[in-house]
Symmetry: C2
Subunit: 293 residues, 2 copies
């Protein structure tokens, strides 16, 4: 199966699980469940869930129970997009070519829908079929990756406060390691933890997560410069307009492209001990660096 | 020790634990930790943590490790206040006589500070000193009580959507059972679960939580009508101005007072089997009904 077909199939499986885990639109209060589902099923690529699935499969032959864990990552990712798009933050009207949550449901409901998705993520993890000790590790991983100290919220704050500051490499790295890197790394780690992987496997896939996380962000910044809004499904050129610290701003486009390739090469290197088991993770690294949107 | 002195002492103990659990203001990114701490230490009465502590003490003699569990409840309560006060929701400038979070730190930081407190609550529970299976039960209780189906967010949405609707008893009960009742009941339940209480103890203290939860909300609605803004430390009379469905609006003030007393009597009744062990919980029920702010 080509990677493209494989990813499409995995997306369908993740979507089916998400549909099962989120209350239906007919459950009162209906509005909040409609709002949660609107953003959750707005065409996300399910990168975090798929990384989690692949990490579990790379270290175990019986890891199919990992799906709810993968979904918890997407619930947190979706909450962060809804809150980031709010007028008080990035003030975006479109995401993946569709109106953002608050443009459809209003700011109040968008805030609450984000809160609800975050809360649901932990409820889902508490109910995963796994030994309690393993579930606690999953919850601790997710909370840390989404939190303020080196995690997603911390990166978001550093990013907001970095607007207009001098584009220093150190600050850039700090922001992105936290803002997108922590959750991508957690996706891999949670797959390994669920599947009962060894400490060495945990460390190797953590490193893989860090490399593709950095590559992912570099490419994101490049696409914001090089692509049109239509191709991205969101407003292009916003980073420069908001004086954000980006890889192209710090290193220039050419060096940024080279850095993304280097991170990709590092990712392949740390996967070497897994041999053919890591085939899809190797393909995903290439896919992340060469994507066009 | 009088209840007043006892509560003051318990508040101090809770505050000391909260201070230990939340990153210091010097930890980067500093702003978010300042924002989290600003609302967390803005004079909260710590009702939820104290209910949790007392529930644990009522069923066990060795429950002092329950403090972080109690604090997780206050982290979630504080996040909900910060988000509720936002311009997109209740648009309140003052809370407990101090400027609300967004008035000091801006809307973006207030949204993120709320998100961070919610995330931290689950991180704290994952690290509590207790058997993993018990921790999972605590996390499931908190997530459900804070969620959309019969939980806090669900109640908040029903409340928003109820503005301007006919003041029906059924709708009123639904809103408040979810909006404030679920978290108050969870405070009791989590104390029992942490302390390893029996199913019968869990059920009895759940019922106590439901009765005082309802009493608490009735009194809140009454105070909004009868007290001045200065006495409340927040804007009085807002319920009527926003056409909220309240107990005085549905039943009138006199009947509302009587209903609060009835709930208090029910609370005492379900505590009877605990005898003197439940002394403080009995006192707390009276305290909640007779408070003036």
């Amino acid at each position: 199966m080509t990677l493209h077909d494989y990813l499409a199939h995995q997306q369908q499986l993740v979507d089916a699980q998400l549909d099962r885990l989120v209350p239906p639109e007919t459950t009162p209060p209906e509005t909040i469940h409609r709002a949660m589902r609107y953003s959750l099923f707005a065409g996300g690529k399910r990168i975090r869930p798929i990384l989690c699935l692949e990490a579990a499969r790379t270290v175990s032959d019986s890891a199919e129970g990992v799906f709810p864990v993968a979904c918890a990552l997407e619930l947190v990712h979706t909450y962060s997009l809804i809150h980031d798009d709010l007028p008080a933050l990035d003030n975006d009207d479109y995401r993946r070519g569709k109106l953002t949550n608050h443009k459809v449901f209003g700011d109040a409901m968008a805030i609450l829908a984000g809160d609800a998705l975050l809360t649901l993520a932990f409820e889902v993890l508490a109910k995963v079929e796994a030994p309690p000790g393993r579930k606690i590790r999953l919850i601790a991983e997710l909370a840390a990756a989404a939190g303020t100290v080196g995690g997603m919220i911390g990166g978001q704050v550093a990013d907001l406060e970095g607007e207009g500051k001098a584009p220093e490499p150190e600050l850039l790295r700090t922001i992105h390691t936290a803002k997108t890197g922590a959750m991508l790394r957690a996706s891999l780690r949670m797959g390994v933890v669920f599947a009962g992987g060894t400490k060495a496997q945990y460390n190797a896939l953590s490193a893989y997560g860090e490399h593709i996380g950095l590559a992912f962000q570099i490419v994101d910044d490049i696409l914001d410069v090089e692509q049109s809004s239509a191709a991205l499904g969101k407003t292009a050129g916003k980073d420069a307009a908001q004086h954000k610290i980006t890889f192209p701003a710090v290193y220039g486009l050419e060096t940024s492209h080279r850095m993304a390739e280097e991170q990709c090469a590092h990712a392949h290197r740390v996967l070497a001990p897994f041999g053919d088991r890591a085939r899809r993770l190797n393909e995903l690294a290439d896919h992340i660096v060469h994507r066009k949107s």
